[in-house]
């Protein structure tokens, strides 16, 4: 038994591989075709060659190798389809020639028909030289020839101007993923260096030493590279940018579906699935409904994929919150005695097992126990007897094929649970961002929404409210319970937060701050009454009656009632008064204003009180003054903690945000009481006295 060989790799994977590397050299560094053609090598074309994975049943001497094909990226008119046809025919050494459009290639190594080349002479000058259309920077479509399809399935990447502001602005892939001597990062800079700038995907570990060599958001949006608008987050407390990645707020929604759950244990009943092996991959979308991804791809093609917007899941990766796709997984594994980790049976074997059962239900009859418990038209493994049935059937199949099972056992793996039987499982550790140690996690970085659609554009309540998905969305914890329904948990748990800490923030933004703003209106109304009273006193007629006092009260109450009316008419409210976003984004100024006014009110009141007494006694003797003084003290203390936000203080730092707003409310209440006292105690005489 042998898995995919290097030769198979070229045939099956070469269509998305630019050549060179393992498509040219074996693992010892020898060029495949040269070694196989060397009679001293002992290699036989098409032979088993001692089960050497580089030469098992390979025909390198006839097919040649796939060298790194420069034109594949650097010639915009490159013909990928023609190139891939040559690969399928095992005409590896001719693939570059036909892909470049320089010649027509006929014949096939696979079919043992002589391969012939016929060049297009019109492409050459009189000296037989070429001056083809070559570009330094590949076009976006060139990158998408390989990256489009795999980008859809588990990443939900659309890579289109319709759904990405950067592509809509005319940027190309290489603007963020550069290579060569013009890049900024020294790790990938240099003439002929083709290490393309890459990000840092949790599930990707090729050249981890080159993580984050791509241009990140700040390189353009803080420095203005390529005339990028400079990001202005002056309205946002800086704490957020320390904890939350740019993508989290700027990808509030994904436009196309990505698979959330991949079940590799049951047969996919979908139609138009193009290859046998893919019948073993059953996908479920973000809504945990069955999704025939391969059928859609086959029928619609990548360019016409449908729009299926959904909200991404948030997870912490390297201490920052990112929007991610955490893939959940279910599959048959093989436990090996004495080893950590798992092996797996060949997917082709599991496929053949299911096909045998479908053709004859008495073969591997246990599989009939696996039912569709949730009536979605697809069977799923979620009950103990179904788990036992799969383990039994796979074990039986492997035994029949002669697979050596000594010291091994077949298991069923569901996310982080390894089931040895339907009732016995072991839980294995996962990283904080993983749903399954065997399921990819992809950070979302493409398909960025416009700035005006970002989280927070409506104020702090976009996240810090009861209706906010940021904390309270239901995220899938397990694909199925015993009834075949997904098991959910609240989003905040996935972020490692507690219910009470989230509730505090929600209370502050959804209850406390609105109350504070209403108190402002009350204060303004009272202040208007006081001011009108003073105006009447100074400018009014010699005799001031009760009706004059009533006049000021009517104005004050009218202002308050107008506000109440506006609360029911949002557009009018936002037109006439500062918006919630404005108030939230100027919270520092609002807070400072409250503290200044509170201090003034306190000083005025203290001056009126018992002039001979000490300040402390004056404060203590006046309830209003006590309120304002306490409010000022706590506001100052919590404000300092907020500004410095020491991580060492942990919970206290978090609480300081709430304490600050509570303190402001206390101060405003104190000021209201002071103003109210001034209004009611004003001794406005019925008749003004005039001293001669």
């Amino acid at each position: 038994m042998i898995d995919m060989t290097s030769f198979d790799f070229v045939v099956q994977c070469g269509s998305c591989h630019p050549g060179g590397g393992p498509l040219e050299f074996d693992r010892e560094g020898y060029r495949y075709d040269s070694l196989m053609s060397d009679p001293n090598s002992g290699l036989i074309s098409g032979g088993e060659n001692n089960l050497d994975g580089d030469y098992y049943k390979a025909q390198w001497d006839k097919s040649g190798v796939l060298e790194a094909d420069c034109f594949l990226c650097h010639m915009p008119e490159y013909n990928f389809s023609a190139r891939n046809q040559q690969i399928n025919k095992l005409n590896f050494r001719w693939a570059a020639t036909t892909g470049s459009g320089l010649a027509i290639v006929t014949g096939s190594v696979k079919e043992e028909k002589t391969v012939k080349v016929s060049y297009d002479k019109s492409r050459f000058d009189e000296d037989g030289r070429l001056s083809p259309h070559i570009v330094r920077e590949p076009r976006t479509q060139t990158c998408l020839n390989c990256h489009a399809k795999p980008g859809w399935k588990k990443r939900g990447a659309n890579f289109r101007a319709r759904t990405d502001v950067h592509l809509a602005a005319g940027l190309m892939c290489v603007d963020c993923h550069p290579a060569g001597k013009y890049v900024d990062d020294e790790r990938i800079k240099g003439k002929d260096v083709h290490q393309v700038g890459k990000g840092d995907d949790p599930g990707g570990h090729v050249r981890d030493d080159l993580d984050n060599t791509c241009r990140d958001c700040t390189q353009c949006h803080e420095k203005g590279y390529l005339n990028a608008p400079i990001a202005n987050h002056s309205w946002l407390p800086p704490l957020h940018l320390d904890k939350i990645a740019c993508q989290t707020c700027h990808i509030p929604q994904r436009p196309v579906k990505a698979a959330l759950f991949q079940a590799s244990d049951v047969f996919n009943p979908g139609t138009k699935i193009p290859e046998k092996g893919k019948y073993l991959w059953v996908f479920y979308g973000p809504d945990m409904k069955y999704w025939n991804h391969y059928g859609e791809l086959e029928m619609m093609g990548f360019d016409d994929k449908p729009t299926d917007p959904y909200r991404p899941v948030f997870a912490r990766y390297k201490e920052k919150i990112y929007p991610v796709n955490q893939l959940h997984s279910a599959w048959p594994g093989i436990e090996i005695e004495g080893k950590n980790g798992l092996a797996q049976p060949l997917m082709s074997d599991v496929y053949k097992m299911w096909m045998t059962f479908k053709n004859d239900i008495t073969s591997y009859a246990d599989l009939a126990l696996i039912k569709d418990d949730n009536d979605d038209g697809v069977i799923e493994i979620n009950r103990p007897e179904e788990i036992d049935a799969l383990i039994s059937a796979v074990t039986s199949y492997l035994r029949k094929t002669g697979y050596p099972l000594e010291g091994k056992r077949v298991v069923w793996v569901s996310n982080d649970r390894i089931y040895r039987s339907g009732k016995e499982f072991e839980q294995v550790p996962t990283e904080p961002w993983e749903a399954s140690p065997y399921g990819n996690v992809h950070k979302y970085t493409h398909d960025i929404y416009p700035a005006r659609a970002a989280l927070g554009v409506n104020g702090c309540g976009d996240c810090h409210s009861r209706s906010s998905d940021f904390f309270y969305a239901s995220v899938v914890k397990r694909p199925f319970d015993e009834k075949g329904n997904p098991v959910y948990e609240p989003q905040y748990k996935l972020l490692g937060l507690t219910s009470w800490s989230v509730s505090l923030g929600m209370f502050r933004e959804s209850n406390l701050k609105p109350t504070l703003y209403v108190l402002f209106v009350v204060l303004i109304s009272l202040f208007v009454i006081w001011a009108v009273d003073r105006a009447i006193e100074i400018l009014g007629p010699p005799s001031i009656g009760l009706h004059h006092r009533l006049f000021s009260w009517i104005i004050g109450v009218a202002i308050f009632l107008l506000f109440v009316y506006l609360m029911g008419h949002r557009e009018l409210l936002e037109f006439m008064l500062p918006s919630r976003f404005w108030l939230d984004s100027h919270h520092f100024g609002v807070g400072a204003g409250v503290m200044i006014v509170g201090t003034i009110a306190l000083l005025i009141r203290l001056k009126q009180l018992y002039p001979g007494r000490r300040i402390r006694k004056r404060v203590a003797s006046c309830f209003r003054c006590t309120l304002i003084a306490i409010g000022l003290a706590f506001a100052a203390l919590s404000g300092i903690i907020m500004l410095m936000h020491p991580e060492a203080l942990g919970v206290i730092t978090r609480l300081s945000y709430l304490v600050f707003d509570l303190s402001l409310a206390l101060i405003v209440v104190g000021i209201i009481l002071v103003v109210f006292r001034e209004i009611v105690s004003a001794k406005v005489p019925l008749v003004k006295s005039h001293h001669m």
């Binding site: 060179g20 393992p22 790194a68 050494r93 060049y119 092996a343 065997y438």
Partner: protein, 122 residues
């Protein structure tokens, strides 16, 4: 008077010599600029017309019927000016070949031999 005339002549000759030198320098720098510009063009990102070469490094010239039954070799052709080995070190080409898998992945997935598509799909 005679001295004045002599001084004038000498001054004129000196001026003439200086002008000639200046002119020559100007022409030299211009030609140097042009030469440098040409070098710049040929070295800095613009490929001159080039021949195709086959895997053995022999010229393919379909116009004159030379070796025109052979497929061209990107390595032999582009490699005449560009460092093919350095280029193909890129991870797009290697796809994990020669790299050890991430330790955690290797512990979890016993079938994985590299972090990339070549030997590592997990």
């Amino acid at each position: 008077m005679l001295n004045e005339k002599l001084n004038l002549k000498i001054g004129f000759i000196i001026l003439l010599m200086l002008s000639t030198i200046a002119l020559c320098l100007a022409k030299y720098s211009q030609s140097t600029e042009q030469k440098r510009e040409t070098e710049h063009i040929s070295v800095e990102g613009v490929c001159p017309p080039f021949h195709l070469y086959d895997e053995q490094g022999k010229v393919i010239d379909p116009v004159h019927g030379i070796n025109s039954d052979k497929p061209y070799s990107p390595k032999q052709t582009c490699g005449k000016c560009h460092d093919y080995n350095k280029i193909s070190e890129g991870f797009h080409f290697q796809q994990g070949r020669g790299e050890k898998p991430n330790p955690l992945t290797a512990e979890r997935c016993l079938w994985v031999t590299s972090p990339g598509n070549y030997g590592g799909n997990w």
